[in-house]
Amino acid sequence: MDFTSLTLTNVSRHFGRRRALAGVNLTAEAGQIVALLGANGAGKSTLLSIAATLLDASSGDVRYGRMTAREGGHALRGRIGLLGHDLYLYPELTATENLRFFADLYALDSPGDRVAAALASAALQDRGNDPVSSFSRGMRQRLAVERALLHEPRLALLDEPFTGLDDVSSETLRARLSALRRRGAIVLVTTHELEAIEPIVDAAYLLGRGRLERLAAGAGSLRDRYRRQAQA
């Protein structure tokens, strides 16, 4: 159960009378880091939820390679990793227990080694036996990123992954995302921290009023291009 592309064709999503997405088209290939940019409430998280199979599109088609989410079933979900605004961690459990629970749920080989590697990657190897409730925001964020990537997903959907991270952790995350790209993952990132993502991004899209358009190439930084296009 694998795929090398994610294709959204004419995807719309309504919440009652409110239109969150309107005819969105997007193709992302394996080995690409794609940034989804836009103001608060632009529909970025909705788009990620649809790509994660947690939300049905009101209309349009979402394909993972040639498969739909329904055809792929739970095996397809096992190839997707999602980091949300909320961190999907149990605060009462320790970092190790959180990771071990998801490693077992995903039936990973050598779960103990995977958990140890994930803790090391999050620079939390000394805090593995501490409850997550005792962690700072940045530590939780690092742990949540590792939880989302624990099973080496083909499709990594990361909603504001740089939130709460210091410079060193941001650099580590960039290296982690670059490694994912080399491994052939499709990485979709939403962020307002444009300077953080700029060095590694392959394509950037602007989402506004429910519509998605590719950020035009041109002079200036990613933020300059974003501002120009958002104000146009």
Partner: protein, 227 residues
């Protein structure tokens, strides 16, 4: 690939681990159940005499109320950090997640019942242990039915702003057959002329309700959890 029952067992184990750390749901449910029973005892026992069938009714109402409290809190935990989304994204049948949560609720209800039954027997002078195996059967069957419906509704409402109001409004009418079955079956065991045949009939009916509720919940869980 994680099997159905392995996934369900992992969810139960995780829920129990979280509960052993916080002890929040157990303590609040037990305290609520005991308080509820004391209020009934003051209202329905006069000069040492109890209204007929009151013990059976109070036992089941207390369990239903405490169960609603526990259901709401168990799913609040999954909502607070949106961990339910992580569970739904896992490569396991979503019905296995339901079964895991359901089993956790049943275990909690049985724990509350283990505390409440002796108290009802003591406060209402009810011979609840005279036919202990049959009473245990009624309690387990009733808990299964109540948890089957309650787990589905609590999961559905976990992200709703008015979940606190909606859960009892939806849950109590749907579980009326379970409560009636439990009350009548228990009352048959407590009356002066014990009616074993009647208690067994209610037990069989409760098991039928369980089968129907559990089948419907397993069928509905995946579609209702996909937004």
């Amino acid at each position: 690939m994680t099997t159905f029952f392995t996934a369900a067992a992992l969810v139960v184990r995780k829920d129990l681990l979280v509960e052993t750390r916080s002890r929040e749901v157990v303590y609040t449910s037990l305290l609520f159940a005991v308080s509820c029973m004391l209020v009934f005892a003051f209202g329905l026992v006069k000069e040492g005499r109890v209204v007929a069938d009151a013990a059976a009714a109070i036992l089941w109402i207390t369990i239903a109320f405490a169960g609603t409290l526990a259901l709401g809190r168990i799913f609040d935990r999954e909502r607070q950090n949106e961990t339910m989304r992580a569970l739904l994204l896992a490569p396991v049948p979503r019905a296995a997640i339901y079964i895991g949560k359901f089993a956790g609720v049943v275990l909690l209800l049985l724990l509350v019942e283990a505390a409440v039954v002796p108290l009802v027997a003591l406060m209402f002078d009810a011979p609840l242990f005279r036919h202990a195996p049959l009473l245990a059967g009624l309690m387990v069957a009733g808990s299964l039915g109540y948890a089957a419906v309650g787990t589905l509704f609590a999961a559905m409402l976990a992200r709703s702003r008015s979940r606190g109001t909606l859960l009892p409004v939806l849950l109590y009418p749907m579980t009326v057959p379970v409560i009636i079955g439990g009350v009548r079956g228990t009352a048959a065991l407590l009356q002066p002329d014990v009616d074993i045949a009647m208690a067994r009939t209610w037990l069989v009916l409760l098991l039928c309700f369980d089968a129907v509720f559990l089948t419907l919940a397993l069928w509905l869980f995946e579609p209702v959890m996909t937004e």
